[in-house]
């Protein structure tokens, strides 16, 4: 059930993580796991199609980094991505407040 709930909010989570700093997929997954205290521990490979979709939608842009020993695809938020993130954060706030008020927090 948690996995299904996570899928519905994956875009918001990915955009939020990348809002802090550009990162490659592996770092994004580690942040997701660490920030959630291990709760969001989905199969790591499933975030790549989501990142690619966000890039196609113009919310992210990627570039290949050759700095380290291995090539890494670094993702960062675009201006459109920042606007979308702000909008989705506001929507999430309203939604989570309403859920908390209904189920009792």
């Amino acid at each position: 059930m948690l996995g299904e709930a996570l899928k519905g909010h994956l875009d918001l989570l990915l955009l939020s993580i990348l809002a802090d700093r550009p990162a490659h997929g592996y770092a994004v997954i580690e942040s997701l796991r660490n920030r959630s205290g291990g709760t969001f521990d989905l199969p790591e490979g499933t975030i790549y199609p989501a990142l690619h979709r966000l890039e196609r939608q113009g919310l992210l842009r990627s570039s290949w980094s050759e700095d380290s020993a291995r090539r890494k695809r670094i993702y960062q938020l675009t201006a459109k991505g920042q606007q979308t993130l702000a909008k989705r954060q506001a929507e999430w706030q309203i939604f989570s407040n309403a859920v908390n008020a209904t189920v009792g927090s």
């Binding site: 592996y26 199969p43 790591e44 490979g45 499933t46 790549y48 199609p49 090539r71 695809r73």
Partner: protein, 186 residues
């Protein structure tokens, strides 16, 4: 030898994505980079090479899960592109067929049959829509040029023409399913 399991996984993933028309070398390079980084981190934690590879792959997700997640995210874009190409193909066939110097119905029918079959073979999931996208333009254009709007020919003629791309579309789809079932029974 060191990256045996990972390389084997990558080869299988590439083949499965290719069969669905979703393979992209940049995506695969990114996945390889991820798996090698995960493996190195596991090695730093004291795991053996085999254990590190196994852990990296387990955390990444089994093939079925990963392939279906790529399919889910990318399929809509691919389907739209194939449909747009099918419409363009149908318009081109209609244009060539309408030329006064063109008098080979067999080639027109063959082009419809093969192109509709090709699009469903490549993975377009609705053969009937491909048949419409390819086969509708020729009878519409021909009816418009000939100015014969009498019923029921104006309805029956397109339906008759559409049988050809319908046949091609469903034949291509059957072959596509056969290939998937043979090489990738997920």
């Amino acid at each position: 030898m060191r990256q045996n399991q990972i390389q084997s996984y990558l080869r299988k993933l590439e083949r499965h994505l290719w069969l669905r028309g979703l393979a992209d070398q940049n995506d695969l390079a990114e996945i390889e980079s991820h798996l090698l980084e995960a493996m190195e981190q596991a090695l730093d934690q004291g795991l053996t090479v085999e254990e590190a590879e196994r852990q990296a792959l387990e955390r990444f997700g089994d093939l079925e899960t990963i392939v279906s997640s790529f399919e889910k995210e990318k399929i809509n874009l691919m389907q739209k592109m194939l449909l747009a190409l099918a419409i363009l193909t149908g318009v081109c066939i209609a244009f060539v067929d309408s030329r006064p110097t063109w008098d080979d119905t067999g080639i027109t029918a063959g082009a419809m049959l093969l192109s509709s079959g090709l699009f469903t073979l490549l993975g377009y999931r609705r053969p009937w829509l491909i048949a419409l996208a390819i086969g509708l333009w020729t009878p519409i254009y021909e009816t418009y040029l000939s100015r014969h709007f009498a019923m029921p020919q104006v309805i029956l003629f397109p339906l008759f023409i559409l049988l050809i791309p319908l046949l091609g579309g469903y034949a291509g789809w059957v072959v596509h399913l056969g290939i998937r079932k043979t090489f990738y029974p997920v």
